[in-house]
Protein backbone atom coordinates (compact mmCIF):
# COMPACT_ATOMS: atom_id res chain seq x y z
CA UNK A 1 0.00 0.00 0.00
CA UNK A 2 1.24 3.47 -0.85
CA UNK A 3 2.22 5.70 2.06
CA UNK A 4 -1.05 7.19 3.25
CA UNK A 5 0.64 9.99 5.16
CA UNK A 6 2.18 11.53 2.06
CA UNK A 7 -1.19 12.11 0.37
CA UNK A 8 -2.46 15.65 0.11
CA UNK A 9 -5.65 16.39 2.01
CA UNK A 10 -7.57 16.68 -1.28
CA UNK A 11 -6.23 13.33 -2.51
CA UNK A 12 -7.12 11.62 0.77
CA UNK A 13 -10.60 13.13 0.71
CA UNK A 14 -11.23 11.93 -2.84
CA UNK A 15 -9.92 8.42 -2.11
CA UNK A 16 -12.04 8.21 1.05
CA UNK A 17 -15.14 9.19 -0.88
CA UNK A 18 -14.32 6.68 -3.60
CA UNK A 19 -13.83 4.06 -0.81
CA UNK A 20 -10.31 3.32 -2.07
CA UNK A 21 -8.99 3.89 1.45
CA UNK A 22 -10.61 3.86 4.88
CA UNK A 23 -10.54 6.53 7.55
CA UNK A 24 -9.30 3.87 9.94
CA UNK A 25 -6.22 3.03 7.84
CA UNK A 26 -5.53 6.70 7.18
CA UNK A 27 -5.71 7.54 10.89
CA UNK A 28 -3.67 4.52 11.96
CA UNK A 29 -0.94 5.38 9.44
CA UNK A 30 -0.67 8.86 10.94
CA UNK A 31 -0.67 7.62 14.53
CA UNK A 32 2.23 5.34 13.63
CA UNK A 33 4.21 8.19 12.07
CA UNK A 34 3.55 10.36 15.12
CA UNK A 35 5.01 7.69 17.34
CA UNK A 36 8.16 7.50 15.24
CA UNK A 37 8.52 11.28 15.16
CA UNK A 38 8.27 11.99 18.90
CA UNK A 39 11.78 13.41 18.87
CA UNK A 40 10.36 16.44 17.00
CA UNK A 41 8.07 17.20 19.97
CA UNK A 42 5.45 18.54 17.56
CA UNK A 43 2.57 16.96 19.51
CA UNK A 44 2.25 17.84 23.18
CA UNK A 45 -0.63 15.38 23.49
CA UNK A 46 -1.45 12.44 21.24
CA UNK A 47 -5.09 11.35 21.34
CA UNK A 48 -5.05 7.97 19.57
CA UNK A 49 -8.19 6.57 21.18
CA UNK A 50 -10.12 9.70 20.40
CA UNK A 51 -8.82 9.58 16.82
CA UNK A 52 -9.72 5.94 16.30
CA UNK A 53 -13.25 6.52 17.56
CA UNK A 54 -13.71 9.47 15.24
CA UNK A 55 -12.26 7.51 12.31
CA UNK A 56 -14.66 4.62 12.93
CA UNK A 57 -17.58 7.04 12.94
CA UNK A 58 -16.29 8.54 9.69
CA UNK A 59 -16.04 5.14 8.03
CA UNK A 60 -19.65 4.43 9.00
CA UNK A 61 -20.77 7.75 7.54
CA UNK A 62 -18.73 7.31 4.38
CA UNK A 63 -20.21 3.84 4.02
CA UNK A 64 -23.67 5.37 4.00
CA UNK A 65 -22.54 8.08 1.58
CA UNK A 66 -23.17 10.75 4.23
CA UNK A 67 -19.65 12.03 4.71
CA UNK A 68 -19.03 15.72 5.42
CA UNK A 69 -16.53 17.89 3.52
CA UNK A 70 -13.65 16.69 5.76
CA UNK A 71 -14.95 13.22 6.56
CA UNK A 72 -12.14 11.01 7.86
CA UNK A 73 -9.37 13.62 7.44
CA UNK A 74 -6.81 13.43 10.31
CA UNK A 75 -5.78 16.82 11.66
CA UNK A 76 -3.57 18.22 14.39
CA UNK A 77 -4.86 21.03 16.62
CA UNK A 78 -2.73 23.81 18.04
CA UNK A 79 -2.84 23.62 21.83
CA UNK A 80 -4.38 27.09 21.96
CA UNK A 81 -7.79 25.74 20.85
CA UNK A 82 -10.00 24.53 23.69
CA UNK A 83 -11.01 20.91 23.09
CA UNK A 84 -13.78 19.48 25.20
CA UNK A 85 -12.45 16.96 27.69
CA UNK A 86 -8.97 17.04 26.15
CA UNK A 87 -6.16 18.85 27.99
CA UNK A 88 -5.46 22.30 26.56
CA UNK A 89 -2.43 24.12 27.95
CA UNK A 90 -1.51 26.99 25.60
CA UNK A 91 1.89 25.40 26.35
CA UNK A 92 2.00 27.31 29.62
CA UNK A 93 2.70 25.96 33.09
CA UNK A 94 -0.20 28.04 34.37
CA UNK A 95 -2.64 25.87 32.35
CA UNK A 96 -0.74 22.59 32.60
CA UNK A 97 -3.74 20.65 33.92
CA UNK A 98 -6.56 22.55 32.23
CA UNK A 99 -9.26 20.34 30.73
CA UNK A 100 -11.84 22.49 28.91
CA UNK A 101 -15.50 21.73 29.43
CA UNK A 102 -16.31 23.16 26.01
CA UNK A 103 -15.09 23.09 22.42
CA UNK A 104 -13.76 26.07 20.44
CA UNK A 105 -16.02 27.11 17.59
CA UNK A 106 -13.34 26.53 14.94
CA UNK A 107 -12.59 22.97 16.06
CA UNK A 108 -16.27 22.15 16.56
CA UNK A 109 -16.83 23.09 12.91
CA UNK A 110 -13.98 20.81 11.83
CA UNK A 111 -15.56 17.88 13.72
CA UNK A 112 -19.00 18.82 12.35
CA UNK A 113 -17.50 18.41 8.87
CA UNK A 114 -16.06 14.99 9.72
CA UNK A 115 -12.40 15.65 10.56
CA UNK A 116 -10.49 13.38 12.95
CA UNK A 117 -8.37 14.78 15.80
CA UNK A 118 -4.92 13.18 16.12
CA UNK A 119 -3.74 15.32 19.03
CA UNK A 120 -2.71 18.72 20.31
CA UNK A 121 0.24 20.58 18.83
CA UNK A 122 3.05 22.48 20.50
CA UNK A 123 3.32 26.26 20.32
CA UNK A 124 5.09 29.17 21.97
CA UNK A 125 3.62 29.85 25.43
CA UNK A 126 0.35 31.74 24.88
CA UNK A 127 1.49 32.08 21.23
CA UNK A 128 4.16 34.59 22.27
CA UNK A 129 7.22 33.78 20.23
CA UNK A 130 8.61 33.25 16.74
CA UNK A 131 10.55 30.02 17.22
CA UNK A 132 8.50 27.79 19.55
CA UNK A 133 11.30 28.17 22.10
CA UNK A 134 9.06 29.76 24.75
CA UNK A 135 6.83 26.66 25.10
CA UNK A 136 6.69 25.30 28.64
CA UNK A 137 6.42 21.85 27.06
CA UNK A 138 9.77 22.00 25.28
CA UNK A 139 11.14 23.08 21.91
CA UNK A 140 9.84 21.72 18.64
CA UNK A 141 12.63 20.40 16.43
CA UNK A 142 12.08 21.30 12.80
CA UNK A 143 11.94 18.36 10.40
CA UNK A 144 14.28 20.46 8.24
CA UNK A 145 18.07 20.55 8.57
CA UNK A 146 20.71 22.62 6.85
CA UNK A 147 22.54 20.81 4.09
CA UNK A 148 25.30 18.66 5.59
CA UNK A 149 24.56 19.76 9.14
CA UNK A 150 22.49 18.03 11.80
CA UNK A 151 22.17 20.98 14.17
CA UNK A 152 18.52 21.21 15.32
CA UNK A 153 16.59 24.11 13.78
CA UNK A 154 13.46 25.92 14.91
CA UNK A 155 10.22 25.36 12.97
CA UNK A 156 9.26 29.01 13.52
CA UNK A 157 6.48 30.12 15.78
CA UNK A 158 4.26 30.51 17.45
CA UNK A 159 2.46 27.65 15.64
CA UNK A 160 5.70 25.63 15.51
CA UNK A 161 4.16 22.25 16.29
CA UNK A 162 1.51 22.73 13.61
CA UNK A 163 4.09 23.60 10.95
CA UNK A 164 6.47 20.78 11.91
CA UNK A 165 3.66 18.19 12.01
CA UNK A 166 2.29 19.14 8.58
CA UNK A 167 5.74 19.33 7.02
CA UNK A 168 6.78 15.95 8.48
CA UNK A 169 3.54 14.20 7.36
CA UNK A 170 2.26 13.77 10.93
CA UNK A 171 -1.19 15.02 9.87
CA UNK A 172 -2.86 16.14 6.64
CA UNK A 173 -3.49 19.63 7.97
CA UNK A 174 -3.43 21.59 11.19
CA UNK A 175 -4.96 24.60 12.85
CA UNK A 176 -2.90 27.63 13.80
CA UNK A 177 -3.39 31.12 15.12
CA UNK A 178 -1.66 34.26 13.88
CA UNK A 179 -1.28 37.47 15.89
CA UNK A 180 1.83 38.89 14.22
CA UNK A 181 2.92 36.14 11.83
CA UNK A 182 2.44 32.94 13.84
CA UNK A 183 0.96 31.02 10.89
CA UNK A 184 2.84 32.54 7.96
CA UNK A 185 6.37 32.52 9.41
CA UNK A 186 6.40 28.85 10.51
CA UNK A 187 4.75 27.85 7.22
CA UNK A 188 7.59 29.62 5.37
CA UNK A 189 10.26 28.00 7.57
CA UNK A 190 8.95 24.48 6.95
CA UNK A 191 8.07 24.63 3.25
CA UNK A 192 4.30 24.43 3.62
CA UNK A 193 1.28 26.68 3.10
CA UNK A 194 -0.38 28.74 5.83
CA UNK A 195 -3.06 31.40 5.64
CA UNK A 196 -4.13 33.99 8.17
CA UNK A 197 -7.63 35.00 7.10
CA UNK A 198 -9.18 38.45 7.41
CA UNK A 199 -9.80 39.51 11.02
CA UNK A 200 -13.31 38.32 11.83
CA UNK A 201 -13.36 35.51 9.25
CA UNK A 202 -13.00 32.78 11.91
CA UNK A 203 -14.55 32.87 15.36
CA UNK A 204 -12.10 33.43 18.20
CA UNK A 205 -14.41 31.75 20.72
CA UNK A 206 -12.63 29.02 22.66
CA UNK A 207 -9.17 30.05 21.47
CA UNK A 208 -6.86 31.08 24.31
CA UNK A 209 -6.63 34.85 23.86
CA UNK A 210 -3.33 36.68 23.28
CA UNK A 211 -4.12 40.04 21.63
CA UNK A 212 -7.79 40.11 20.78
CA UNK A 213 -7.73 42.82 18.10
CA UNK A 214 -5.00 40.94 16.19
CA UNK A 215 -5.59 37.20 16.84
CA UNK A 216 -7.03 35.14 14.02
CA UNK A 217 -7.21 31.38 13.41
CA UNK A 218 -6.17 29.79 10.13
CA UNK A 219 -5.11 26.49 8.56
CA UNK A 220 -1.77 24.89 7.65
CA UNK A 221 -1.47 22.27 4.92
CA UNK A 222 0.97 21.07 2.29
CA UNK A 223 -0.83 22.64 -0.68
CA UNK A 224 -2.77 25.83 -1.33
CA UNK A 225 -5.82 23.77 -2.27
CA UNK A 226 -5.71 21.92 1.06
CA UNK A 227 -5.69 25.17 3.03
CA UNK A 228 -8.65 26.37 0.96
CA UNK A 229 -10.58 23.22 1.86
CA UNK A 230 -9.81 23.63 5.56
CA UNK A 231 -10.60 27.34 5.73
CA UNK A 232 -14.10 26.77 4.41
CA UNK A 233 -14.84 24.56 7.40
CA UNK A 234 -13.11 26.82 9.94
CA UNK A 235 -14.66 30.13 8.86
CA UNK A 236 -18.07 31.64 9.54
CA UNK A 237 -20.08 33.89 11.79
CA UNK A 238 -20.49 32.82 15.41
CA UNK A 239 -22.94 34.37 17.88
CA UNK A 240 -20.38 33.66 20.61
CA UNK A 241 -17.81 36.03 19.03
CA UNK A 242 -19.26 39.45 18.32
CA UNK A 243 -16.25 40.32 16.13
CA UNK A 244 -16.83 37.38 13.78
CA UNK A 245 -18.02 38.64 10.42
CA UNK A 246 -21.58 38.08 9.28
CA UNK A 247 -20.54 37.16 5.76
CA UNK A 248 -21.25 34.04 3.75
CA UNK A 249 -18.29 31.63 3.50
CA UNK A 250 -17.42 30.95 -0.13
CA UNK A 251 -16.31 27.57 -1.46
CA UNK A 252 -12.66 28.60 -1.42
CA UNK A 253 -11.52 25.50 -3.29
CA UNK A 254 -13.22 26.84 -6.42
CA UNK A 255 -10.63 29.64 -6.51
CA UNK A 256 -7.88 27.09 -7.17
CA UNK A 257 -6.98 27.25 -10.84
CA UNK A 258 -8.96 30.44 -11.39
CA UNK A 259 -7.29 32.81 -13.86
CA UNK A 260 -5.29 35.68 -12.39
CA UNK A 261 -5.16 37.48 -15.72
CA UNK A 262 -5.45 41.23 -15.37
CA UNK A 263 -5.08 41.18 -11.58
CA UNK A 264 -2.94 44.01 -10.26
CA UNK A 265 -0.19 42.91 -7.90
CA UNK A 266 1.49 45.56 -5.78
CA UNK A 267 5.20 45.32 -4.91
CA UNK A 268 5.85 47.54 -1.88
CA UNK A 269 9.27 49.16 -2.04
CA UNK A 270 9.46 49.40 1.76
CA UNK A 271 9.74 45.61 2.03
CA UNK A 272 13.12 45.72 0.33
CA UNK A 273 14.94 46.37 3.56
CA UNK A 274 18.56 47.39 3.64
CA UNK A 275 21.01 44.57 3.98
CA UNK A 276 18.43 41.95 3.03
CA UNK A 277 20.27 38.90 1.70
CA UNK A 278 20.04 38.19 -2.05
CA UNK A 279 18.52 34.79 -1.26
CA UNK A 280 15.38 36.58 -0.01
CA UNK A 281 15.24 38.89 -3.02
CA UNK A 282 15.58 36.03 -5.46
CA UNK A 283 12.29 34.18 -4.86
CA UNK A 284 10.55 37.57 -4.60
CA UNK A 285 11.78 38.50 -8.08
CA UNK A 286 10.80 35.07 -9.34
CA UNK A 287 7.35 35.35 -7.80
CA UNK A 288 6.83 38.57 -9.65
CA UNK A 289 7.83 36.93 -12.93
CA UNK A 290 5.57 33.92 -12.31
CA UNK A 291 2.53 36.08 -11.67
CA UNK A 292 3.36 38.24 -14.68
CA UNK A 293 3.63 35.14 -16.86
CA UNK A 294 0.16 34.13 -15.64
CA UNK A 295 -1.22 37.43 -16.90
CA UNK A 296 -1.14 39.56 -13.76
CA UNK A 297 0.04 43.13 -13.90
CA UNK A 298 2.92 44.08 -11.58
CA UNK A 299 2.73 47.55 -10.05
CA UNK A 300 5.28 49.23 -7.76
CA UNK A 301 3.55 50.65 -4.70
CA UNK A 302 4.48 52.37 -1.48
CA UNK A 303 3.35 51.53 2.06
CA UNK A 304 5.23 54.34 3.80
CA UNK A 305 4.46 53.45 7.42
CA UNK A 306 5.73 49.87 7.16
CA UNK A 307 8.83 50.53 9.22
CA UNK A 308 6.75 51.58 12.23
CA UNK A 309 4.54 48.50 12.26
CA UNK A 310 6.74 46.34 14.46
CA UNK A 311 7.14 49.05 17.11
CA UNK A 312 3.42 49.75 17.19
CA UNK A 313 2.75 46.00 17.37
CA UNK A 314 5.07 45.58 20.35
CA UNK A 315 3.01 48.14 22.25
CA UNK A 316 -0.48 47.05 21.19
CA UNK A 317 -0.01 43.28 21.44
CA UNK A 318 1.56 43.30 24.95
CA UNK A 319 -1.07 45.82 26.12
CA UNK A 320 -3.89 43.52 25.02
CA UNK A 321 -2.02 40.51 26.39
CA UNK A 322 -1.59 42.09 29.81
CA UNK A 323 -5.33 42.61 29.94
CA UNK A 324 -6.26 39.16 28.57
CA UNK A 325 -3.86 37.28 30.83
CA UNK A 326 -5.16 39.00 33.97
CA UNK A 327 -7.62 36.11 34.20
CA UNK A 328 -4.88 33.68 35.27
CA UNK A 329 -5.09 34.35 38.98
CA UNK A 330 -5.21 30.90 40.52
CA UNK A 331 -8.90 31.15 41.37
CA UNK A 332 -11.08 29.73 38.61
CA UNK A 333 -8.74 27.40 36.73
CA UNK A 334 -5.08 26.65 36.26
CA UNK A 335 -2.18 26.67 38.65
CA UNK A 336 -2.48 28.01 42.19
CA UNK A 337 0.49 28.73 44.43
CA UNK A 338 -0.53 29.56 48.01
CA UNK A 339 0.45 32.92 49.47
CA UNK A 340 0.16 34.76 52.75
CA UNK A 341 -2.95 36.59 51.53
CA UNK A 342 -4.97 36.75 48.33
CA UNK A 343 -2.74 39.31 46.58
CA UNK A 344 0.33 37.30 47.46
CA UNK A 345 -1.41 34.21 46.09
CA UNK A 346 -2.02 36.00 42.77
CA UNK A 347 1.58 37.17 42.63
CA UNK A 348 3.13 33.81 43.52
CA UNK A 349 0.80 31.96 41.14
CA UNK A 350 1.60 34.24 38.21
CA UNK A 351 5.32 34.25 38.98
CA UNK A 352 5.43 30.45 38.97
CA UNK A 353 3.00 29.95 36.09
CA UNK A 354 4.23 32.33 33.41
CA UNK A 355 7.48 31.87 31.48
CA UNK A 356 10.00 34.66 30.93
CA UNK A 357 8.71 35.87 27.56
CA UNK A 358 5.11 35.99 28.75
CA UNK A 359 6.10 37.80 31.95
CA UNK A 360 8.09 40.35 29.94
CA UNK A 361 5.18 41.05 27.63
CA UNK A 362 2.67 41.35 30.47
CA UNK A 363 4.95 43.83 32.20
CA UNK A 364 5.52 45.93 29.09
CA UNK A 365 1.79 45.89 28.41
CA UNK A 366 1.05 46.92 31.97
CA UNK A 367 3.53 49.78 31.69
CA UNK A 368 2.23 51.20 28.40
CA UNK A 369 -1.32 51.14 29.75
CA UNK A 370 -0.45 52.64 33.12
CA UNK A 371 -1.43 56.14 34.23
CA UNK A 372 0.86 58.75 32.72
CA UNK A 373 2.15 56.53 29.89
CA UNK A 374 -1.07 55.56 28.12
CA UNK A 375 -1.07 58.54 25.74
CA UNK A 376 2.65 58.47 25.02
CA UNK A 377 2.72 54.77 24.16
CA UNK A 378 -0.60 53.00 23.73
CA UNK A 379 -2.66 55.79 22.18
CA UNK A 380 0.20 56.81 19.89
CA UNK A 381 0.63 53.19 18.74
CA UNK A 382 -3.09 52.98 17.97
CA UNK A 383 -2.80 56.12 15.85
CA UNK A 384 0.17 54.70 13.98
CA UNK A 385 -1.97 51.61 13.43
CA UNK A 386 -4.51 53.83 11.67
CA UNK A 387 -1.77 55.11 9.35
CA UNK A 388 -0.56 51.59 8.59
CA UNK A 389 -4.08 50.56 7.68
CA UNK A 390 -4.50 53.69 5.53
CA UNK A 391 -1.39 52.74 3.53
CA UNK A 392 -3.15 49.52 2.52
CA UNK A 393 -6.47 51.30 1.90
CA UNK A 394 -4.65 53.62 -0.50
CA UNK A 395 -3.22 50.65 -2.39
CA UNK A 396 -6.67 49.11 -2.80
CA UNK A 397 -8.02 52.50 -3.95
CA UNK A 398 -5.29 52.52 -6.59
CA UNK A 399 -6.84 49.32 -7.97
CA UNK A 400 -4.32 46.89 -6.45
CA UNK A 401 -5.83 43.40 -5.96
CA UNK A 402 -3.10 41.84 -3.84
CA UNK A 403 0.40 42.57 -2.58
CA UNK A 404 3.45 40.30 -2.95
CA UNK A 405 6.26 40.31 -0.36
CA UNK A 406 8.76 37.87 1.14
CA UNK A 407 7.23 36.00 4.11
CA UNK A 408 10.30 36.24 6.34
CA UNK A 409 13.62 38.12 6.31
CA UNK A 410 15.57 34.81 6.47
CA UNK A 411 15.24 31.04 6.42
CA UNK A 412 14.95 28.99 9.62
CA UNK A 413 17.62 29.43 12.28
CA UNK A 414 19.08 27.11 14.90
CA UNK A 415 17.62 26.49 18.35
CA UNK A 416 19.18 28.99 20.76
CA UNK A 417 20.66 31.13 17.97
CA UNK A 418 18.44 34.17 18.26
CA UNK A 419 17.06 36.53 20.86
CA UNK A 420 18.90 35.29 23.94
CA UNK A 421 20.65 38.62 24.46
CA UNK A 422 18.10 41.03 23.05
CA UNK A 423 14.48 39.96 22.48
CA UNK A 424 14.16 42.55 19.71
CA UNK A 425 16.39 40.33 17.54
CA UNK A 426 13.70 37.66 17.65
CA UNK A 427 10.90 40.16 17.11
CA UNK A 428 12.44 41.25 13.78
CA UNK A 429 11.31 37.89 12.34
CA UNK A 430 7.82 39.30 12.06
CA UNK A 431 8.82 42.40 10.11
CA UNK A 432 6.98 41.35 6.92
CA UNK A 433 3.96 39.72 8.52
CA UNK A 434 2.98 42.02 11.36
CA UNK A 435 1.59 44.84 9.18
CA UNK A 436 -1.09 42.45 7.93
CA UNK A 437 -2.43 41.83 11.46
CA UNK A 438 -2.30 45.54 12.24
CA UNK A 439 -4.56 46.17 9.23
CA UNK A 440 -6.71 43.05 9.77
CA UNK A 441 -6.02 41.76 6.25
CA UNK A 442 -5.69 38.20 4.96
CA UNK A 443 -2.19 36.91 4.20
CA UNK A 444 -0.97 33.60 2.81
CA UNK A 445 2.54 32.15 2.85
CA UNK A 446 3.44 29.85 -0.04
CA UNK A 447 6.77 27.99 -0.46
CA UNK A 448 8.75 29.59 -3.27
CA UNK A 449 12.46 28.88 -2.97
CA UNK A 450 15.35 27.88 -0.78
CA UNK A 451 18.11 29.67 1.07
CA UNK A 452 21.83 28.91 0.69
CA UNK A 453 21.50 26.09 3.23
CA UNK A 454 18.73 24.39 1.27
CA UNK A 455 16.04 25.52 3.71
CA UNK A 456 12.59 26.58 2.48
CA UNK A 457 11.64 30.22 1.90
CA UNK A 458 8.11 31.50 1.47
CA UNK A 459 6.39 34.32 -0.35
CA UNK A 460 3.55 36.22 1.25
CA UNK A 461 0.49 37.44 -0.62
CA UNK A 462 -1.60 40.06 1.16
CA UNK A 463 -5.22 40.50 0.13
CA UNK A 464 -8.05 42.96 0.52
CA UNK A 465 -10.45 42.42 3.42
CA UNK A 466 -12.20 39.10 2.70
CA UNK A 467 -10.06 38.66 -0.43
CA UNK A 468 -9.07 35.10 0.54
CA UNK A 469 -10.20 33.71 -2.82
CA UNK A 470 -7.76 36.02 -4.62
CA UNK A 471 -4.98 34.72 -2.37
CA UNK A 472 -5.83 31.09 -3.11
CA UNK A 473 -5.89 31.75 -6.87
CA UNK A 474 -2.60 33.67 -6.82
CA UNK A 475 -0.98 31.31 -4.30
CA UNK A 476 -1.80 28.38 -6.53
CA UNK A 477 -0.04 30.07 -9.47
CA UNK A 478 3.11 30.52 -7.36
CA UNK A 479 2.90 26.96 -6.07
CA UNK A 480 2.65 25.55 -9.59
CA UNK A 481 5.51 27.68 -10.88
CA UNK A 482 7.79 26.97 -7.92
CA UNK A 483 7.96 23.29 -8.85
CA UNK A 484 7.67 20.09 -6.81
CA UNK A 485 6.59 20.22 -3.18
CA UNK A 486 9.40 20.63 -0.65
CA UNK A 487 9.75 17.65 1.64
CA UNK A 488 12.30 17.28 4.41
CA UNK A 489 14.52 14.21 4.56
CA UNK A 490 13.05 11.82 7.11
CA UNK A 491 16.09 11.67 9.44
CA UNK A 492 13.96 11.05 12.53
CA UNK A 493 12.70 7.60 11.62
CA UNK A 494 15.79 5.93 10.19
Amino acid sequence: MADLTSLTLAEARDQLRAKKISAKDLTDAHLKEMEKARVLNAYVLETPEHAQKMAAASDAKLGRGEGGPLEGIPLGIKDLFATNGVRTTACSKILENFVPQYESTVTSQLWRDGAVMLGKLNNDEFAMGSSNETSALGNVISPWRRKGDDKPLVPGGSSGGSAAAVSANLCLGATGTDTGGSIRQPAAFTGIVGIKPTYGRCSRWGIVAFASSLDQAGPFARTVQDTAILLRSMAGQDPKDSTSADKAVPDYEKAIGRSVKGMKIGIPKEYRVEGMPAEIDEPWDKGREWLKAAGAEIVDISLPHTKYALSAYYIIAPAEASSNLARYDGVRYGLRVPGKDIVDMYQQTRAAGFGKEVRRRIMIGTYVLSAGYYDAYYLRAQKVRTLIKKDFDNAWKQGIDAILTPATPSGAFGIGEKGSGDPVEMYLNDIFTVTVNMAGLPGISVPAGRDRNGLPLGLQLIGKPFGEEDLFALGHVIEQAAGPRMTPEKWWSK
Binding site: F98, T243, V331, V424
Partner: protein, 95 residues
Amino acid sequence: MSVDAATVRRIAHLARIAVADHEIEHLRGEINNMLAFVEQLNEVNVDGVEPTASVEDMKLKMRDDVVSDGNYAKRVLANAPATDDGFFQVPKVVE
Protein backbone atom coordinates in the same frame (compact mmCIF):
# COMPACT_ATOMS: atom_id res chain seq x y z
CA MET B 1 12.05 57.22 28.14
CA SER B 2 13.47 54.55 30.38
CA VAL B 3 12.44 52.90 33.62
CA ASP B 4 14.30 52.64 36.94
CA ALA B 5 14.25 49.81 39.46
CA ALA B 6 11.39 51.34 41.45
CA THR B 7 9.26 51.53 38.31
CA VAL B 8 9.99 47.88 37.49
CA ARG B 9 8.79 46.95 40.99
CA ARG B 10 5.68 49.07 40.53
CA ILE B 11 4.88 47.45 37.15
CA ALA B 12 5.38 43.98 38.65
CA HIS B 13 2.96 44.85 41.44
CA LEU B 14 0.37 46.26 39.02
CA ALA B 15 0.70 43.07 36.95
CA ARG B 16 0.46 40.95 40.13
CA ILE B 17 3.64 39.04 39.34
CA ALA B 18 6.12 38.42 42.15
CA VAL B 19 9.62 39.39 41.00
CA ALA B 20 12.68 38.51 43.06
CA ASP B 21 15.16 41.30 43.87
CA HIS B 22 17.92 39.69 41.82
CA GLU B 23 15.69 39.75 38.71
CA ILE B 24 14.91 43.48 38.80
CA GLU B 25 18.06 44.68 37.07
CA HIS B 26 17.73 42.18 34.23
CA LEU B 27 14.07 43.01 33.71
CA ARG B 28 14.86 46.71 33.77
CA GLY B 29 17.37 46.16 30.93
CA GLU B 30 14.85 44.18 28.86
CA ILE B 31 12.07 46.70 29.32
CA ASN B 32 14.39 49.58 28.45
CA ASN B 33 15.55 47.75 25.32
CA MET B 34 11.93 47.52 24.24
CA LEU B 35 11.22 51.13 25.07
CA ALA B 36 14.27 52.20 23.05
CA PHE B 37 13.04 50.09 20.13
CA VAL B 38 9.58 51.68 20.09
CA GLU B 39 11.06 55.17 20.49
CA GLN B 40 10.94 55.56 16.67
CA LEU B 41 7.16 56.00 16.88
CA ASN B 42 7.84 59.53 18.07
CA GLU B 43 9.01 60.43 14.54
CA VAL B 44 5.52 59.85 13.17
CA ASN B 45 3.22 62.83 12.88
CA VAL B 46 -0.06 61.64 14.39
CA ASP B 47 -1.76 65.05 14.64
CA GLY B 48 -5.44 64.67 13.92
CA VAL B 49 -5.18 60.89 13.42
CA GLU B 50 -7.91 58.80 15.04
CA PRO B 51 -6.71 55.77 17.03
CA THR B 52 -7.63 52.31 15.71
CA ALA B 53 -8.98 49.89 18.31
CA SER B 54 -10.76 47.64 15.82
CA VAL B 55 -10.05 47.16 12.12
CA GLU B 56 -13.53 45.94 11.37
CA ASP B 57 -15.93 47.93 9.30
CA MET B 58 -19.03 46.69 11.07
CA LYS B 59 -21.34 47.44 13.92
CA LEU B 60 -21.31 45.13 16.89
CA LYS B 61 -24.47 43.06 17.02
CA MET B 62 -27.00 43.42 19.79
CA ARG B 63 -28.97 40.53 21.17
CA ASP B 64 -31.93 40.31 23.50
CA ASP B 65 -30.97 40.88 27.11
CA VAL B 66 -32.00 37.47 28.34
CA VAL B 67 -30.29 34.56 30.06
CA SER B 68 -29.13 32.29 27.25
CA ASP B 69 -26.67 29.99 28.97
CA GLY B 70 -25.85 28.47 32.32
CA ASN B 71 -27.05 25.97 34.92
CA TYR B 72 -23.89 23.89 34.91
CA ALA B 73 -22.00 24.93 38.01
CA LYS B 74 -20.12 21.63 38.09
CA ARG B 75 -18.59 22.24 34.66
CA VAL B 76 -17.73 25.82 35.58
CA LEU B 77 -15.93 24.62 38.71
CA ALA B 78 -14.34 21.57 37.09
CA ASN B 79 -10.91 23.17 36.73
CA ALA B 80 -10.87 25.24 39.91
CA PRO B 81 -7.89 24.69 42.22
CA ALA B 82 -10.19 24.84 45.28
CA THR B 83 -13.97 24.73 45.62
CA ASP B 84 -16.44 24.42 48.44
CA ASP B 85 -20.12 23.62 48.15
CA GLY B 86 -20.44 24.92 44.59
CA PHE B 87 -18.25 27.99 45.09
CA PHE B 88 -14.71 28.99 44.16
CA GLN B 89 -12.60 29.03 47.29
CA VAL B 90 -10.01 31.75 47.96
CA PRO B 91 -7.93 32.83 50.97
CA LYS B 92 -9.73 35.04 53.47
CA VAL B 93 -10.25 38.52 52.00
CA VAL B 94 -12.25 40.27 54.73
CA GLU B 95 -11.05 40.02 58.31
